[in-house]
């Protein structure tokens, strides 16, 4: 599974302060730390600073890639900020995100194409967020269709069918898992989600997140936005991949054990 580090996000107080003071040192340290802990891609977000988001995003992408040689997930609802990040990004970026709302994807998909990026597509449309697995699946099909119409192949599309907190919507986790299974029946399309939403509002979040990651892996998740420095999540991923035959000869599991990383 593709592990995407979530920690460079302006909703986190410490990161937001670093963004405002342009403290590249601190942000680079968070980047290095996540990669050292197994993140293959890093999510970058500076959205709380709405006034100069494009300029900040351009700076953020540059200082992060200066330090770690990984691709980035450029996380913003603002097309100008997305383009500012894409312009300076090295390698193939992932755009976070479009929805099935026409005014949104029509602005963003041309950028995805122009910069040969990949794209995260949320199953949200003008009517809002779907409640059932079937509705999520229908929106996923629509998203695959509109991205294809813009010249983006299904393999470059990551469908995010939105994890809800189990504390407030107890029936949504099973709907989400079922949606994953349905979406994986579509050829080539990838699936992604932010994990930590699931445990919002409950104690011992790390245990819930780790248990949930094993469940989503079993249902076919391809990529997850997580905190890679959280050892229980990391260990659960290794264990689940070994159990699901997604880790040949359990090699990666054994290696992690030898390095005392489980």
């Amino acid at each position: 599974m593709l592990i995407i580090g979530e920690k460079i996000n302006s909703t986190r107080q410490r990161i937001n302060r670093a963004l405002i003071s342009k403290d590249s040192h601190y942000i680079q340290q968070v980047a290095v730390d996540q990669v050292a802990n197994g993140a293959q891609v890093l999510d970058v977000n500076c959205g709380i600073n709405i006034k100069n988001e494009p300029e900040l995003m351009s700076w953020l992408v540059r200082i992060v890639q200066e330090k770690v040689k990984v691709s980035l997930v450029i996380d913003s609802p603002n097309p100008d900020a997305l383009e500012a990040g894409l312009k300076v990004h090295q390698g193939s970026a992932i755009v976070n995100s479009i929805t099935a709302e026409k005014n949104r994807y029509e602005k963003i998909l041309p950028l995805v194409k122009k910069y040969q990026a990949k794209v995260i597509a949320l199953t949200i449309d003008e009517k809002g967020m779907p409640r059932t697995a079937r509705e999520r699946f229908d929106l996923a099909k629509k998203l695959v269709k509109v991205t294809a119409e813009h010249g983006i192949p299904a393999k470059d599309v990551y469908i995010d069918s939105l994890v809800h907190p189990v504390s407030t919507e107890p029936q949504q986790v099973t709907e989400f898992l079922e949606a994953l299974r349905l979406i994986k029946t579509l050829p080539d399309v990838q699936t992604i989600c932010g994990l930590s939403n699931v445990s919002f509002g409950l104690p011992n979040r790390s245990l819930l997140n780790a248990t949930f990651v094993a469940m989503v892996l079993c249902s076919g998740l391809d990529a997850a936005i997580i905190d890679p420095t959280d050892k229980s999540i990391r260990s659960a991923i290794k264990a689940a991949e070994a159990l699901l035959n997604r880790d040949q000869y359990c090699a990666s599991y054994i290696a992690a054990h030898r390095e005392s990383k489980l």
Partner: protein, 212 residues
Amino acid sequence: MIDPKQIAENLINGQAPKVKELVEQALKDGLTPGQILKEGLIEGMNVVGTRFKANEFYIPEVLVAARAMHAGMDILKPLLAKSGDKPTVKFMIGTVKGDLHDIGKNLVGMMMEGAGFEVIDVGIDVSPEKFVEAVKEKKPHVVGMSALLTTTMPSIKTSIEALKSAGVRDKTKILIGGAPITENFAQEVGADGYAPDAASAVDKARELLQQR
């Protein structure tokens, strides 16, 4: 004789059937619906709000307490309507345009209900036009707007401006909230008040009503 405190206690523990039973018993014992509401249900929700604010209660515990409150309210509502003790303050709440987050909004609504307000929930992704229409139709004493995204914070401003243009801005008090909202922002956009959480929202609404 039922002590309203018992009702509050069971509400705090989320015991909906027990709350229902105790409310019925209390009525038989001759307590007034108003007294049961105030000293039982509202008192209980106050404690829940305080504990949530202090991070002692988790979200599901608030939800299950709210369910218990509703179990009691279902019995009291028709009686309150008859006795003239019905809620006198109307609180309208919605999440602004472009924003689908409703958990915080719902908690604020529940606490307001718990505090004895009549709550009119206009839902999520509420456009400025819809706010105007709803305010004209329902004439709430306080309008609450919730926004959870930095990108939808400006919708608060456009909604307040729409209320102004429609000439109904001064007919109501405007209370705003949501994770990215600050006191400063509230002043900037011309709201009457800001509350950082559901329990303070009740206090703030009461304070705004005093100013009327």
